[in-house]
Amino acid sequence: MLKYVIKRLVLMVFTLFIIVTMTFILVHILPREMPTDKVQAQAIAARWEALGYNKPVLQQYGIYLKNIFTKWDFGTSWYIAPRKPALEVLTSRFLPTLLVNFYSMIFSVPVGIALGVYAAIRKNKWDDSLISTLVMVFISVPSYVYAFLVQYFLYFKLGWLPLIMYSLADAGGSYFTGKMFVSMIPAVIALSFGSIAGYTRFVRAELTESLTSEYMLLARTKGLTRAQATSRHALKNAMVPILPSILSEFIGLLSGSMIIEKIFSIPGVGQLYIRSLSLFDYDVFMMDCVFYTFIGLLAGIVLDLSYGFIDPRIRMGEK
């Protein structure tokens, strides 16, 4: 097990390294200009020189790696937050993204699991077909369509919720105020439709499978009621693949949804990607690319490894 974990981690670092190298070269061969600022000109020029932006690309990459390993320095933002470290710019965007996605998750996981369990128990009855049909529709419709529907009905028609998320200043300087929470609700709802449908489909599929397995027959034979057998045996076994996927989804939360962040103007990681691209703030863009790659790889590993942790019978790394 440990050997497998280490092998996966080493492979991940290797993959990350290759992708970062390719991205770095592709980003840094783009033409770039030193920002013009009369007051800060000297400081900018010094930083520019220190990052080696006048040197060849491979040399720049050497400096980039050296800075990461010695100073944990991923470059500098030039336009979005002038001369702030790129890492700091990124981390300041975590909280809004995380909060919106987290609210959506704590809402959609229980609802999704409950619906999925209900559909599996009532398999092939009318309510199961209703749920399955709705799941099909909700999974297919793109998230931005929900965003427009939410904006249209909850803002324009009913006026219950704000159109976009409040800025920090409007909501009292913190992401945890009640006002901020209310302004996040539209985005949370728009995100939740798809994920509720996803969880429902997944749970239903897993639970149907365990409900028809032979240990269920045994449980019923030894005298458990249907409810007891389902909750003690079937549900427990069905959760084995469900929990890891929730876990890996949770890590994936950090990268957020670009389109939802754009529509509801959430100052998060996804919006940073679009802004850094349109403002040509390449160091921040590079930082965002590294981050996305890292999150993607990490989520994959956690998904694979957590199977083994949750159910020790699943042996990792064996063919």
Binding site: F14, T23, S140, P142, Y144, Y152, F156, E209, M258, I259
Partner: protein, 524 residues
């Protein structure tokens, strides 16, 4: 124990078909192969069949749409931008009449009604309200009962709820033309009986906005006024509603009191001299284009025919999705087959390559390709490359698994013993066994491609909007700031894209159930 065995003498036995050759009898029915079997199962799945039908309809729509209208792909009319579905002449039917529901203040309502009155008053005789309401250029389709409401300054004001034709609302515009065209317009008017040229409006203090050609009646601060018997200017009484209202025209008139239709504005010789005229836009549209305004789905935010834009976007999406899945199918099948068949070191090395590629987030690939190559290759090929870079990995993985399953089986060994080469073994013996899985996952690539394409163009990472064609995402993104006032701009593209996504998912699931009945209701 008594012997109960019957004794039968050997002579009683005869050979049944002695001297006949025993051969296999041909089946009366045709054999049902794997694909026929799948097809039978697929047909039974009603939802998937309906989904396939919807996909076919949408595809047909995207092909046929350009033939349903006289508008060209690149045809654009800025005056008629953001308008609803409209067929000229369907006024007051409530169906595709270009109508929009809106609340009007009193003066606002008068200014709209006045367009119709002005249109009836082409010779300056002073049309009545009745004439104006009867005119087919009257923008007001329905006027409701007045209601007292608070306006922005918390004053009580009377409002009318009404339905207005957004196309006729454009009303009159000023146009600068040459003398030759003026004559041409006159000829056209005589030929068709439609009125194009209308009297010019005096630029005096009774004209609120001289640039707006719709202010043909005398008004002060938007309040219509009239000259009473004593020659004094008085406010027109509009408290009692519109009945009996007589707007007083503010036309430019010559010394004889005849309205002036054109005015010299500059230029040198007779041929190049510019004239200012006031034209009714609906008729000018017919004059200019030779056909009436006809927009089955309305117009988009820039004034293109929304139906053509949608059809173009759908064609782009479908073309992209199908080519991506075909190319991914080919690459994935070849890659997975080689991996699975040879195994060992080849497999290990190729797995590492696909591991690394699959770690690259799609959005980053798409962005970098766009930045570097879109100027040279164009946006669409770049998008295609981005999809292909790691889109085939899922298929390769499935093919590889299938190859591991089948390559050790007896029929492969038998074929090998008979001297079949590797290539024959791979493509003739093992690959057909994995075809079902691959076809399914290829079909399920399509909804993802369509969604990602619309997302990238919505976010502006990929710029696909041109004068000729556009993408669904660009349509949505153009509409995103203004769609609450013009809902059709958002509803129609969103509806089509949702329908496509649902149908392709259902269709793919149907394929999966048909090819692998054991996988029914299992998501992978």
């Amino acid at each position: 124990m008594a012997d109960t065995t019957k004794k039968i003498s050997p002579e009683k036995f005869t050979f049944v078909n002695i001297g006949e050759r025993l051969t296999d009898v041909k089946f009366d029915d045709k054999p049902i192969g794997y694909f026929k079997d799948a097809w039978i199962r697929f047909r039974k799945n009603k939802a998937s069949v309906v989904a396939a039908g919807i996909i076919l309809l949408i595809f047909l729509f995207s092909i046929v749409a350009p033939f349903l209208t006289k508008n060209e792909n690149s045809f654009m009319d800025t005056y008629f931008a953001k308008k609803g579905p409209y067929i000229y002449g369907l006024n007051k039917t409530g169906f595709m009449d270009g109508g929009v529901e809106r609340d009007f203040s009193e003066v606002g309502l008068i200014s709209k009604v006045a367009i119709g009155i002005g249109a009836a008053d082409w010779d300056g005789h002073g049309a009545t309200l009745e004439e104006g309401m009867a005119s087919d250029q009257q923008p007001m389709l329905l006027i409701g009962e007045p209601e007292i409401k608070l306006d922005a300054t918390k004053k009580e004001k009377r409002y009318y709820h009404g339905r207005i034709n957004a196309y006729a609302e454009v009303g009159f515009i000023y146009k600068s033309i040459e003398q030759a065209e003026l004559q041409h317009m006159r000829d056209w008017e005589a030929e068709t009986g439609l009125h194009l040229l209308y009297p010019l409006v005096e630029d005096n203090k009774y004209n609120v906005d001289p640039a707006d050609a719709n202010n043909w009646y005398k008004s002060k601060k938007y309040q219509p006024v009239y000259t009473n018997e004593k020659g004094k200017i008085k406010n027109l009484d509009i408290e009692a509603g519109l009945v009996g209202m007589q707007l007083e025209d503010n036309y430019k008139r010559d010394a004889d009191g005849n309205p002036v239709y054109y005015e010299f504005t500059g230029g040198g010789t007779l041929e190049t001299a510019a004239y200012k005229v006031r034209v009714l836009y609906n008729n000018y549209y017919i004059y200019k284009n030779g056909f009436e305004p006809r927009y089955f789905f309305g117009t988009d935010s820039q004034g293109y025919d929304l139906m053509l834009r949608l059809a173009g976007g759908l064609r782009l999406s479908l073309m992209l999705a199908v080519s991506v899945s075909v190319i991914n199918f080919i690459i994935g099948a070849a890659y997975g087959a080689i991996e699975g068949f040879y195994g060992g070191l080849t497999d290990l090395l190729m797995e590492r390559v696909s591991d690394i590629l699959s770690g690259v987030p799609f959005i980053i690939v798409a962005t970098l390709f766009q930045i570097h190559l879109s100027a040279k290759l164009g946006a669409i090929p770049c998008l295609l490359f981005a999809y292909i870079l790691n889109g085939w990995i899922g298929i390769a993985y499935r093919v590889r698994t299938q190859f591991y399953r089948f390559k050790k089986q007896e029929f492969v060994l038998a074929a090998r013993t008979l001297g079949a080469r590797d290539r024959r073994l791979i493509w003739k013996h093992i690959f057909p066994n994995s075809l079902g899985t691959i076809v399914t996952s290829t079909a399920l690539i399509i909804p993802g491609v369509i969604f990602n394409e619309s997302m990238l163009s919505y976010l502006g990472i990929v710029k696909l909007g041109t004068a000729q064609t556009t993408s669904l995402g660009t349509l949505l993104s153009d509409a995103s700031a203004i769609w609450t006032n013009y809902p059709h701009l958002m509803i129609l593209p969103a509806l089509f894209i949702s329908l496509l996504e649902i149908s392709f998912n259902l269709f793919g699931n149907g394929l999966r159930d048909a090819f692998n009945p054991s996988l029914r209701n299992v998501e992978d």
